[in-house]
């Protein structure tokens, strides 16, 4: 049996103590199979960003277990966590989060550098990844010389360059205009068609509509989980 890329059980997350306790997640369980394209939707305050950060191993849950590609992420030490983030997850942020004053190619090469891959190999793979998002000719440009949509496509290239088990995107089109949104979503469709596993968080219905599976989150619970396409 193929093991799921993502397997979370009874995830809870609380912030603060006593009276001021905020329950961001109240027991979330879900699995995501390899090659799936999942959109998690919810209004602001529904806990979707908290869920995203936990799925991306950027934050730890208060209770519950999280298996990422069969590895229990909740009890990893800092070193292994860094390794997991590097090898298993490709993260795409709403604010792009490219490193300023570093060329697009440099940004894409960065996770490979942390993985200890040789410079020649790094350059080849970064070029290939930029090719996938259609920005090969912009490799030498720095982030401030690129439009928002281009920056986000560079961020996508950076996320997929390590060939991670899971692509996680946190409101990837939140800061983009309609045209750039279309460009970025086309890239996601293309990646999904190529067999990548994608989890995308959004509050825009048109983004959610393009996913194969749609999950709705309200008040830290999954209220809706439908398959829109096989």
């Amino acid at each position: 049996m193929r093991r799921p890329v993502l397997d979370v059980r009874d995830l809870t997350k609380t912030y603060g103590e006593g009276e001021a306790t905020v329950h961001a997640l109240r027991g979330v369980s879900m699995t995501v199979e390899r090659g799936d394209y999942v959109a998690i939707m919810g209004s602001s305050g529904s806990g979707k960003s908290t869920l995203m950060n936990i799925l991306g191993a950027l934050d730890v849950p208060t209770t519950g277990t999280y298996l990422l590609d069969g590895v229990d992420v909740s009890d990893l030490a800092d070193r292994q966590l860094a390794l997991a983030r590097n090898r298993l997850i490709g993260f795409i942020f709403q604010a792009f989060n490219l490193i300023p004053r570093m060329s697009a190619a440099g940004n894409v090469e960065l996770p490979l550098a942390y993985a200890g891959i040789k410079p020649d190999e790094r350059r080849r793979r970064a070029r290939a990844a930029l090719d996938v998002v259609g920005l090969a000719e912009r490799a030498r440009h720095e982030p401030n010389q690129l439009s928002g949509g281009q920056q986000q496509r560079v961020a996508v290239a950076r996320a997929l360059v390590t060939e991670p088990a899971l692509l996680l995107a946190d409101e990837p089109t939140g800061n983009l205009d309609t045209r750039s949104t279309e460009d970025v979503l086309d890239v996601f469709d293309q990646l999904s068609a190529a067999g990548r596993t994608i989890v995308i968080i959004t509050h825009e219905p048109e983004v959610g509509a393009r996913a194969k599976r749609l999950i709705r989150l309200v008040d830290g619970r999954i209220v809706h989980d439908v398959r829109q396409r096989p």
Binding site: R85, F93, M102
Partner: protein, 386 residues
Amino acid sequence: MSLTFALRGLSANKLRSSLTMLGILIGVAAVILLVAVGNGSAKAISDRIEALGTNTITVMSAGRTGSALTTETAGALADPVLAPDVRSVSPVVSASATVTYEGADHEVSSFVGTTPGWFAASNTPVGRGAAFTTDDEAQGRRVVVLGPTVAEELFPGADPIDQQVTVGGALFTVIGVLAGKSSTGFQDANDTAVAPLTAVRQVLTGYGSLNSILVEASSPAQVDAVQSQVSTILGLSLDETQYRIQNASQLLETQTETADTFTTLLGAVAAISLLVGGIGITNIMLVTVTERTREIGIRKALGAPRRVILTQFMIEATLLSVLGGLLGVAAALIGSSFEIVGVRPVIVPSSVGLALGVSIAIGLFFGGLPAARAARLRPIDALRYE
């Protein structure tokens, strides 16, 4: 890998990096240079005093009633029983005088009359010609040994020996020229002339009292013994307020102490400037790390282990402080080849090590501390940081 990241980080902010290095550069260069100036002036002072001879004491007259030192006093000091450690006693008179030669004249600030033993005792060798002899002194022969400055003034390009110069209306035969002395004070030590005591008293100063008596000890170790013997003898005929004894080695000691204090003071001032430079590094590192907390978050999200991030910032801080420090050392070395306020600086090697070490330590500590804090942050907190 971390080295490339660090170099990229530094070159991304060239102006800020170079200003930080400038702060350290100035701090390090100031420490080294100021200590070198202090050390150089101490060396100059001790050289000057050592040139006076360290195995002599000088008896000088004190008090307002005129000098009480006479040739009899000087004679009494040459007493093998009461003062066994005295090698020679040279009574000294001196006055300023105009020396004339064929229409050219020169004002000599110290025309010295003394006995032949003075040349050896005062560490003033004769360069050309000869010193006068005991016989010359006894006979009151009018012979003179000129200082190099006087000889150069009166006999430019000519040999002054056996020429006759006029001093105070009397003719003196030049029999020698003193060897040049290095002159570090305001007074030119070469602007002098030495003649037999009897001749000078006859022509210039009259038969009054002596200006001073130079007493030479048989060895530098006996200087203190000679000093107590001399004061015993002088105590027989003179009141203690009428004379004072100047001891060259004591003078050297106190002057060296003064110079050491001076060096310490300069060093303290310089250390403060190094500290200010260090605070500059601290400030820049804090700003850099705080400003780049988000970047640290991104890097962690991309899978950078804590160690790699820490190393990157440590290398950045180290490079800044090491480069700044080395440039500071270079600046100090260049600066020390020039005279500063009339003093030739002499570099103290330990000050180089100390200044460099402190700047590197400051860079490592205050660069490492905020970096360690940032590297420990959970990526989500670092990413949210604004």
